[in-house]
């Protein structure tokens, strides 16, 4: 790859006429970056990019949203949430709907804010919606550490934490037909690239760790096209991702959380694909155990979209009754969701 100029790589990807290559990006931020850079328009029709189950909001089952809605409607409880989770519908309502009815829902921007809020208002219970992948889990661990150190017990976590390796196995074993993975850059920064090397060896599929710049994503796609049919790993995000990852972050996560089974929207329960609070910290749990139910809206193809069996625009609801302003499935809500990205950027 080193001998090719960037222009030669661009020409190669545009004119590629070999065997079809199906590449999955498993990270929502990659999905967004691919759309923002207009990368699909630069690829030969023989190269398809498929958005995988890496948007944390999109893979959260309705039972978790329902639980948050229920908690937010209690007069003594305030639900704190990051970003676009607020607009994802549960069985009946989203947190935004509940808020409009007077529920206590607040959006937070910085995790340390949650500790301050709880400390200043001991008469209320603050429940932090702890949703995310390996990238965000250390943040929740830090919040917990802070709360314990300051002896704050009215701050609790409702966890729905996911980990990447098991869901990647699940996608491969459930007919995704994937020839290569763009390994999630932020997740790999925490877990290390070795995790993806092991996966590659086991599954016989290549992985390339990528950052989020357009140029690097194109180089990643180029590498994966060349590696089709072979196992192997390349790390193009070396400034950020080390083979063993971020040891300190992993340590703090291991202190408070342990591996668990997790329920994924549209995919069901996947063994060992999540994290939950260790039993000794269960007093900080707002009721995360057993939140497995998942009500997909009628006609919604999110489940197939998330594993690459269906492209967002192949869903019968896409762009018709399902738009970002009236989303049926979570994939159309989040700015990292595959349906949202295909819809707003005209991606095909």
């Amino acid at each position: 790859m080193a001998n090719k100029s960037f222009q030669e790589i661009i020409d190669f990807l545009k004119n590629y006429d070999g065997e079809e290559v199906r590449i999955m990006e498993v990270c929502g931020t990659h999905t967004a970056a691919i759309s923002e850079n207009g990368i699909p328009s630069m690829l030969s029709p023989k190269i398809s990019l498929i958005s995988g189950p890496g948007c944390p909001v999109c893979v959260t089952v309705t039972a978790v949203i329902d639980k948050l809605v229920e908690l937010s409607l209690r007069p003594d409880t305030i639900v704190l949430t990051f970003g676009d989770l607020i607009r994802v519908k549960g069985t009946e309502k989203s947190l935004a709907d509940a808020k409009a009815e007077g529920a206590n829902v607040r959006m937070v921007y910085s995790p340390t804010e949650t500790v301050t809020l709880a400390k200043e208002d001991p008469d209320h219970t603050y429940v932090f919606a702890a949703i995310g992948f390996e990238t965000t889990t250390p943040v929740y661990a830090m919040v917990l550490k802070e709360a314990i150190e300051q002896d704050i017990h009215n701050l609790k976590l409702l966890t729905s934490l996911k980990t990447m390796p098991e869901v990647i196995r699940w996608v491969v074993n459930n007919g995704g037909g994937i020839d290569g993975f763009i390994a999630p850059g932020h997740v790999a920064a925490i877990t290390g690239s070795d995790v993806f090397k092991e996966l590659s060896d086991e599954l016989g599929i290549p992985f390339v760790v990528s950052g989020f710049e357009g140029k690097q994503l194109l180089m990643t796609i180029y590498a994966l096209v060349l590696m089709k049919g072979k196992k192997g790993i390349k790390n193009l995000y070396k400034d950020v991702v080390l083979p063993k990852g971020n040891i300190k972050a992993k340590e703090i996560v291991d202190k408070y959380f342990c591996p668990s089974d997790a329920s994924w929207r549209g995919m069901g329960k996947i063994k060992g694909s999540g994290m939950c609070l260790k039993p000794e910290y269960s007093s900080f749990d707002a009721g995360s155990v057993g939140l497995d139910e998942d009500h997909m809206p009628p006609g919604c193809s999110c489940a197939k979209v998330l594993v690459g069996k269906v492209k967002p625009y192949e869903c019968p609801l896409f762009g018709k009754s399902c738009t970002p302003d009236n989303a049926h499935g979570a994939c159309m809500v989040s700015t990292e969701g595959s349906c949202y990205n295909y819809f707003v950027s005209g991606r095909r």
């Binding site: 207009g38 990368i39 944390p56 676009d84 989770l85 357009g214 700015t335 950027s345």
Partner: protein, 336 residues
């Protein structure tokens, strides 16, 4: 001193508040009569607009709600090629608002009106109960502008094949300032709230054929250009490389996962100008106050074949293309 319910009673406290704050700063021969309505002269066609302003925090880096309330209305008048002349000011104050803050805001309104060459000729004040939280204020301004005799009024339906798209400066400054202030992120970003009188006046004085002109506010450039493209049934091609954005705002958007195409300003406008006038228009804006970062960012394609029309297309830095669609939701920061 704080605003109390008595300040809204219509009695002596109200008169005192008006005298000591509003009349003191706004002072001009029309307002000073303090009649039920202001009577002004005029013989041309007029442009009329109204806008209400609610913002937290009230005072932010680069401006305050007072400056905003003048710029917003003045710029709306300018976009119809009118010369802004008069404003009204309706203020709804929350009980408990600091009078010093109010004074600062009203002084800032007066200064901005002065800069924009408009007079605030009538006003109204009410006080409402504070429902919790930091006491704030809401300002409504209506404005009247005189249409120039020679002006062909630009409109979003008026884009022509070959037009050039010009933006008058850096994108997203105001939006990033307000979000940053609310989130407690310290940075050097300042709001761009500004009246665009000088650049618009010079463009029209020089006979530039402006086909469409809009100030870029809530919804950002993406929203304005989508309206242009759909009203005129044309395609707008933008070049990412040309979009002017400060490094600080670029980083801010990067961290929070926000799209610069939908970030609002309060002192920027976008124009569609006849190709032969584009270079001249560009130079005029660049040499005007608040126009130092103006850039030609794209062009218009209009054909008879509707199939060729694809709305707003951004040509990305690395050579890709993506559609800039309408904005959805509130542009919430992403989760990770």
């Amino acid at each position: 001193m704080k605003v109390t319910m008595a300040h809204g009673s219509g009695g002596e406290s109200t008169s005192k508040l008006i005298e000591s704050v509003f009349a003191k700063h706004f002072h001009n021969e029309i307002l000073d009569r303090l009649e039920d309505s202001a009577v002004v002269g005029g013989s041309s066609k007029i442009a009329v607009t109204t806008d209400s302003f609610v913002v937290t925090p009230i005072i932010f880096p680069g401006g305050d709600i007072g400056r905003l309330s003048v710029c917003g209305t003045v710029n709306d008048l300018l976009m119809s090629s009118s010369t802004p002349k008069y404003l009204t000011c309706g203020c709804i104050l929350e009980e408990g608002l600091d009078l010093e803050v109010l004074d600062k805001v009203i002084k800032s309104m007066a200064e901005t009106a002065n800069e924009a060459g408009v007079k605030i000729i009538t006003g109204d004040t009410k006080v409402i109960e504070n429902k919790g939280g930091e006491p704030g204020l809401i300002i409504n301004t209506s404005g009247v502008g005189f249409i120039r005799d020679d002006a062909e009024i630009p409109g979003p339906f008026n884009l022509k094949d070959g037009d050039k798209i010009i933006i008058s400066g850096n994108l997203g400054d105001h939006h990033a300032t307000i979000l940053g202030a609310r989130m407690g992120i310290s940075n050097n970003i300042c709001s761009d709230a500004a009246p665009l009188v000088e650049m618009v006046t010079k463009l029209l004085d020089n006979g530039i054929k402006v086909h469409a002109m809009r100030d870029v506010t809530r919804g950002g450039l993406g929203t304005v250009l989508n309206e242009f493209a759909s009203s005129s049934k044309c395609q707008i091609n933008l070049y990412e490389e040309a979009l002017p954005v400060s490094d600080a705002v670029k980083d801010f958007c990067g961290i929070l996962g926000l799209d610069i195409m939908y970030m609002g300003n309060e002192g920027k406008m976008v124009l569609s100008v006849a190709a032969e006038d584009a270079d001249r228009a560009f130079s005029i804006i660049r040499s005007s106050k608040y126009g130092e970062n103006a850039t030609i960012i794209g062009n218009v394609v209009k054909t008879d074949k509707n199939d060729d029309i694809k709305g707003v297309i951004l040509n990305t830095k690395i050579g890709g293309k993506r559609t800039i669609g309408l904005m959805y939701g509130e542009g919430l920061p992403r989760i990770c």
